[in-house]
């Protein structure tokens, strides 16, 4: 197997798994926070049971997430040593800041888990988990700023580096304000909240339908309501920042833009291409919406969109990312409309969250959110190919070409395959041994 391809596959698989823990790690403290607040306000013990059970799940996700995060940090070093050598000299400060914030997240999570029952002030539980939530959010922001640097590199003399390979004119703070940093951070955070809350919502919606005990059903409904509102608040931000990101892509990474829109040629009155497979220099199986792309991008059909024909074929990203883009857009809008519909039904007092069809659709939303999350991430990363740092460092130059990493990498991948299902199985076993009904009755 090609070693560069293996490096990419290993890094990609590790991140694909790590991302799931990250979104849950970001969302769970938020759900626990709202449960804590609801408990203080209503004194309904179901909320505190919800907070405690979610905190138990959070420990497990945090443990595996910490390990997978360390693996990702090691893989960055071992699979892409040249890339890290550059990042370390130019853009390391977000990683340094992230390590501290992560520390604070871990410490306050410990405090919440161990000392929650002993904290006397009614809001101290909420305050502690809020610190965890904020630290998690900052962690995501700092890591995303590294990704933004990869898309729009700043902070050093790039022409001099391309000419001589030496790094000069370093401004280590510039990484916090690269052209794509702000928008990318906001998009990633709201996407994570949306995906995380929908994953949890799917579980709670399913449990509501399965539950025969009215007390347990009332408990699950509360969980459905909290996670639903997090998703409903996040979705407009996701759609808005997603749309703005496309415009930004057109300005900053036109090849990537052309690839995700499947623009083979630069043209005005550009149609929106839906579907399509590019084989043998031709595009097959697609639908066109005339003028739509130019209108969406420029507000007028006369606007000229960039096409792949403007760039050498060696710098084209793999064109399957167009299908991923279609998937993300379709799921994003479908989720947006569905959640909006549910909110409207709530406004007209129809209690949609008790409707079985709505609950089933919410379960479906959980799966759709995972597909959209992973597709969006793959689209962003693969769309930057052949660059690891756009227009600065090709993936091939950054990679570790030693075949010695193959066995260790395969071992890590195979272990993930065992650990993830085993963790969920054990969590299920744990909750089976501590039946919800008993906890709800005792309130402890």
């Amino acid at each position: 197997m090609d070693v560069v391809l293996f490096d990419r596959a290993l890094m990609g698989s590790s991140l694909a798994i790590h991302i799931l823990f990250v979104v849950l790690g970001l969302t769970l403290p938020l759900v626990i926070f709202f449960s804590e607040i609801a408990y203080v306000r209503t004194k309904n013990k179901q909320y505190i049971v919800l907070a405690r059970r979610l905190a138990t799940a959070f420990i497990l996700f945090f443990a595996i997430g910490t390990a997978s995060g360390t693996i990702v940090a090691l893989e960055l070093l071992f699979l892409w040593p040249e890339f890290m050598a550059l990042v370390s000299q130019v853009a390391i400060l977000p990683l340094v800041a992230e390590s501290f914030v992560f520390f604070i997240e871990a410490i306050f999570l410990s405090i919440y888990i161990y000392f929650r029952p002993k904290l006397r002030h009614p809001y101290s539980g909420a305050a502690t988990i809020l610190i965890v939530a904020i630290a998690g959010l900052l962690t995501a922001a700092f890591i995303t700023s590294i990704n933004a640097f990869m898309n729009t590199p700043v902070g050093f003399n790039i022409p001099a580096y391309l000419q001589s390979g030496t790094i000069t004119g370093v401004n280590p703070l510039a990484v916090f304000s690269s052209p794509s940093t702000r928008l990318e951070i906001i998009h990633v955070i709201f996407t994570s909240y949306l995906a995380g809350s929908l994953m949890l919502l799917a579980y709670f919606a399913y449990s509501t339908m399965r539950s025969r005990d009215p007390v347990a059903r009332s408990y699950y409904r509360k969980a459905v309501t909290i996670t639903f509102w997090i998703a409903a608040v996040a979705v407009p931000f996701v759609v808005l920042t997603g749309s703005l990101s496309i415009t930004q892509l057109y300005l900053q990474q036109p090849e990537k833009y052309a690839a995700i829109e499947m623009n083979l040629v630069s043209q005005s009155h550009a149609p929106e291409v839906i579907g399509g497979i590019y084989t043998g220099n031709t595009l097959k199986d697609y639908v066109l919406i005339p003028n739509m792309q130019s209108i969406l991008l420029f507000g007028s059909a006369n606007g000229t969109v960039p096409g792949l024909n403007q760039y050498p074929k060696s710098t084209w990203p793999p064109l399957f990312i167009h299908l991923l883009f279609d998937t993300v857009v379709f799921i994003g809008f479908a989720l947006g409309f569905f959640l909006l519909l549910v909110v409207l039904l709530m406004v007209f007092r129809k209690a949609p969250l008790q409707n079985k069809l709505v609950l089933w659709l919410l379960v479906l939303c959980g799966f759709a959110a995972v597909i959209a999350l992973e597709s969006g991430w793959i689209m962003d990363e693969v769309g930057r190919q052949p660059w690891i740092i756009y227009n600065v460092m090709p993936v091939v130059s950054a990679a570790n070409l030693s075949p010695g990493i193959l066995p260790a990498g395969i071992a890590i991948l195979s272990f993930y395959v065992i650990v993830c299902p085993l963790s969920l199985l054990l969590l299920k076993h744990y909750f089976n041994k501590r039946p919800l009904s008993a906890e709800l009755r005792s309130g402890k």
């Binding site: 070093l77 071992f78 604070i104 410990s110």
Partner: protein
């Protein structure tokens, strides 16, 4: 001595100290489950969290401090450290599973697996650090690593045994395990003797060994004396233990300065430029203050419990 080197080594010493305690707890959980259940169980998760995050903190600081070493480290030590990563996932998963277990038998089983994984990680980490000092198994010119010579190096093996003894001693003291109180002094002394023996054997490749060995001997004697007197002040022992064990780790680290890989490379040659260095120190200082405050709250609460 370069301030970035000191900062990076202080972080490594802190990580190694906390990791040492975790290794000690893992060993006690393996061989003296009763003491573990009575004294250590309540602390393990908090310590593990601090330790895991310190590992990430150290990796990031290493990347920031020695960017020019990354290609070398990334190529040479990829296999052993990715293997350590494999056991890291195992260790975290097994610890979480043991926390979720209801049956004492399951808990003990998962904890045994956690302890085994932790010891393997400790072995890989110490052998890698030792190889970084001696250059055992490393061909710096071709960036190649021979696994067997790296793991069979006497210096690393002696240091591993010394670290295990030090771990037991530090854990017994920090967590006041009375059953191990007298043995802990023996463990500490043996650990110091072994570490000195290892350093003496490799005097030729430890750049400053002749000079700094005296400092290490002085520190070791000082630690032993204070340790022995502190034994009589049982409640306060732990307050002496932390800084002295860290000082001991730092002193052994200083032995190799300014060379790495048995003299093939130097610390300063692999270091970041001063432009990024200043910001790095400022960020690290600000972060350390926040960290110290958070840890103070955690340990205050743990102590009250």
């Amino acid at each position: 001595m370069n301030y970035l080197y000191i900062q990076n080594y202080a972080i490594l010493a802190s990580f190694l100290f906390f990791f040492l305690l975790e290794v000690g707890i893992a060993l006690i959980a393996l061989f003296d489950f009763k003491s573990y259940s009575e004294k250590l169980k309540g602390y393990l998760l908090a310590l593990w969290e601090i330790d895991s995050t310190f590992a990430i903190f150290y990796i990031v600081n290493l990347e920031a401090t020695y960017p020019k070493a990354l290609t070398l480290i990334g190529t040479v030590y990829a296999v052993p450290l990715l293997a350590a990563g494999f056991f890291l996932i195992a260790r975290n998963a097994f610890l979480a599973y043991s926390e979720l277990s209801h049956m004492p038998k399951d808990e003990k089983g998962f904890l045994t697996l956690y302890s085994g994984s932790t010891l393997i990680i400790a072995f890989i980490v110490i052998m890698t650090l030792s190889s970084g000092v001696t250059g055992a198994g490393v061909n710096a010119h071709t960036s190649a690593l021979e696994i067997l010579p790296m793991f069979a190096q006497p210096f690393g093996i002696i240091m591993f045994i010394a670290a295990v003894l030090l771990a037991l001693s530090a854990t017994a003291l920090c967590f006041d395990i009375r059953r191990m109180r007298n043995a802990s002094l023996l463990f500490l002394l043996l650990s110091i003797v072994l570490a000195l023996l290892g350093s003496y054997m490799y005097t030729s490749i430890l750049a400053n060994a002749q000079h700094d060995l005296y400092a290490v001997v002085a520190a070791a004697i000082m630690v032993s004396i204070i340790y022995a007197s502190a034994l009589k002040l049982s409640g306060y022992v732990k307050y002496f233990v932390v800084p002295f064990f860290m000082a001991l780790i730092v002193l052994f680290g200083m032995l190799q300065y300014p060379y790495l890989l048995g003299g093939s490379a130097t610390y300063t040659g692999l270091m970041t430029g001063t432009a990024a260095g200043l910001e790095l120190v400022l960020f690290t200082t600000a972060g350390t203050i926040m960290l110290a405050l958070s840890m103070a709250i955690l340990f205050y609460l743990l102590r009250k419990r």
